[in-house]
Amino acid sequence: MNFEIAKDPINVQAVIDKVIQREAGAITTFIGTVREWTKGKKTVYLVYEAYEPMAVKKLEQIGTEIQERWSGAQVAITHRVGKLDITDIAVVIAVSTPHRNDAYEANRYAIERIKEIVPIWKKEHWEDGEEWIGNQLETVPYPTGKPEEKDFHE
């Protein structure tokens, strides 16, 4: 189970342990945390929600994409759902590869793809209100009804 949606706090080491391999010369980890201030607004807490079975499938797809692009890569991703407080860990991505440059690149690829194709939503709770993020500004149109195939740009 390298790709998980978790309701409880994420154990970072447990995610890293899943990608340990004798062939690896590097493991990179990305730890996404809950930030207090965004553009002058103070977040009190967040709630993450997932379409869980599809989210797991899409995380698995990201793992497959990485293995196709970066030879010998092992990937593990856990994303948390539910109520998260400031500084809590929302997502942990671990990637191991034979050489370090690939581990950095592949890990960056994973978080960017999560933000494109994994059905997880964040609701910001501020002192004076709340809002589902990713919808109100309508900055992400989907003219064909699904995400476009596109290359990863760093």
């Binding site: 929600e49 599809m54 933000k115 939503w121 589902w132 990713g134 919808n135 064909t144 699904k146 995400p147």
Partner: protein, 77 residues
């Protein structure tokens, strides 16, 4: 019958997490129009759609028993 799933702000707008509806034979675009009218959901145009947990285009035709999820722009990570 078909199961429709609403998430995030779409669920708030629709007032339902899921509903049962007969959508077989309709395209995704036709279903979106129908749902927008029936449940008063405004932002389906900027939502993606998944049929049986896989992204689908607006042209895809829905089959009996399919589960259709409306996926607002995602904000994980």
């Amino acid at each position: 019958m078909n199961k429709l799933l609403f998430f995030a702000h779409l669920r708030d707008e629709a007032g339902h997490e899921s509903v049962e509806i007969d959508a077989a034979g309709k395209t995704v675009a036709e279903l979106k129009q129908m749902v927008a009218e029936k449940y008063g959901v405004q932002k389906l145009d900027s939502s993606m759609t998944a049929i049986n947990e896989e992204f689908s285009s607006n042209e895809e035709v829905i089959k009996e028993g399919d589960t259709i999820a409306f996926i607002p722009p995602v904000s994980g990570g």
